[in-house]
């Protein structure tokens, strides 16, 4: 039985794991390799590094982090943040990450997704979709945003997800902006709508505050994996506790 995945996400700034709120008041939370090893020992199914340095001059730093992590951690590693060119993808994959996550560049240059998938295979191309609930002409729509939720794209989440699949992406990370950072739970409605519209795996993201929320993302949101950052970083819940709760809810997990 395929296990639902629990995926911790680490923000990496200039080669260090940071904790903070909306990119301000960043606090150093350690060496990415050490944190990755700890999560591996706790039973994480995969790991995501989000490079929030976002400046091209500092790309070499994240490549070094990936290299050092891949030497010591033997589980799938995804890296996102500032991935804009086929060359960025190639550099990350050859440094040792398994999947590369494309966010803004997918919206501004959809053909980039196709080029990357053609060159490296769908299995390593992940696309982030960040929808926000917006009222347009008196009607609610789920509009995809970029730049951390600041810039609307005119794209609608469900249609965009189908287009991403058609372009060759192998997985979608869906971060619902209204829920993100609230710790009140994932946006189940949008998650299940997207997950049921595509045949590639969907990772629920944004809003996790408890193991129960991860149960809901899988059971009700029909997601294939649940991603979380703060609930694990701040030590509120361990990955093992989370998986135990999922198992008790009848969800197949890897313990």
């Amino acid at each position: 039985m395929l296990a639902a995945r629990v995926i911790p996400c680490l923000d990496v700034f200039q080669g260090r794991v940071v904790k903070g709120t909306n990119f301000v008041n960043l606090r150093d939370a350690g060496d990415p390799v050490e944190v990755a090893r700890r999560y591996e020992a706790e039973g994480a199914d995969e790991l995501v590094f989000l490079d929030i340095t976002a400046s091209h001059e500092e790309r070499d730093i994240i490549l070094d982090v990936v290299r050092r992590t891949a030497e010591q951690v033997f589980m799938p590693l995804t890296v996102g943040g500032g991935v804009r060119t086929v060359e960025d993808v190639r550099a990350l994959l050859s440094a040792g990450c398994d999947k590369v996550s494309i966010n803004s560049a997918a919206c501004t240059d959809p053909d980039f997704v196709r080029r990357a998938a053609d060159r490296f295979g769908s299995q390593c191309i992940v696309v982030n979709i960040d929808p926000k609930r917006i009222i347009k002409d008196g009607k609610e729509v789920w509009e995809v945003h970029i730049n951390g939720g600041r810039k609307p794209t005119g794209l609608m989440a469900v249609e965009w997800a189908k287009e991403i699949e058609r372009l060759g992406a192998g997985e979608i990370v869906l971060t619902c902006m209204d829920a993100d950072g609230t710790r009140d739970g994932y946006d189940i409605e949008i998650t299940s709508a997207v997950s049921e519209a595509v045949s590639i795996p969907v990772v629920a993201s944004g809003g996790a505050g408890s193991p129960q929320h991860m149960v809901e993302a899988i059971r009700d949101g029909k997601a294939d994996a649940a991603l979380a950052a703060s609930i694990f970083h701040f030590g509120q819940f361990t990955i093992a506790e989370t998986k135990q709760a999922m198992r008790e809810a009848g969800i197949a997990v890897r313990l």
């Binding site: 295979g121 997985e171 590639i200 795996p201």
Partner: protein, 213 residues
């Protein structure tokens, strides 16, 4: 020394690091002579079947790999490196594989609630042991989890080569074993302790004990 075949398809470095982690030595090579004379060979790989075979042929690696397998030395294929052993791949058209094993590589054709790629940790089931110990029977328990990421799977003509199965909308071949040839659909280098155990066992394989086709 384990030689890892470099044909520009996949995370060779992860495979190398995992082998080193279990105390083995591994080098990455795209040199036909080095591959032909390797002590143990790993054919890794992610990506598309047709592109991979084109790269292997362009680098004149098909004959060295086939000759290596025929010599009875220990061989490990991983993911695409399992699929390429077969006669025919049906990914984006029809492509001829290495033809070391009879059979096809086909896409999952499943109800819509099964996502493709099959991505994540799934459990394996051992087929009845074939007698002698090998990395797919030693140390792997039924229902242990391994990391999979693939949209295609192998359908061997000879069912007796299937060593492990996995269930995703029905059983499919998760690993094959024929004499010195071992190959897995999952990624041992990404499967934490279970995968490292398999690699340690492969690292310990010797030629004579396993060359029995």
């Amino acid at each position: 020394m384990i030689t890892i075949v470099d044909y520009q398809m996949g995370n060779l470095r992860s495979v190398q690091k995992a082998i080193e982690k279990v105390g083995g030595e591994a080098k990455i090579s795209s040199d036909p002579a080095e591959i032909a004379s390797a002590e143990k060979l790993v054919l890794p790989g992610v990506g598309a079947f047709g592109d991979a075979m084109a790269e292997i042929r362009r680098r004149d690696l098909a004959s060295p790999i086939i000759d290596f397998v025929d010599s009875g030395r220990p061989f490990l294929g991983i993911c695409l490196g399992l699929q390429l052993l077969f006669e025919r791949g049906l990914e984006h058209g029809e492509h001829e594989g290495l033809g070391i094993l009879a059979g096809d590589v086909v896409r999952f054709d499943l109800p819509s609630n099964f996502k493709v790629p099959h991505m994540g940790w799934n459990t394996v089931t051992k087929k009845a042991p074939t007698g002698d110990a090998n990395p797919l029977t030693e140390g792997i328990e039924n229902d242990s989890h391994f990391y999979f990421v693939h949209s295609y799977y192998v359908r061997p003509t000879d069912p007796s080569v299937v060593a492990l199965t996995c269930d995703y909308g029905g059983p499919f071949c998760a690993a094959i074993r024929r004499g010195n040839v071992i190959a897995t659909q999952f990624h041992p280098e990404k499967s934490q302790d279970n995968g490292l155990k398999l690699l340690a066992s492969f690292n310990g394989m010797t030629m004579n004990a396993e060359a029995s086709v």
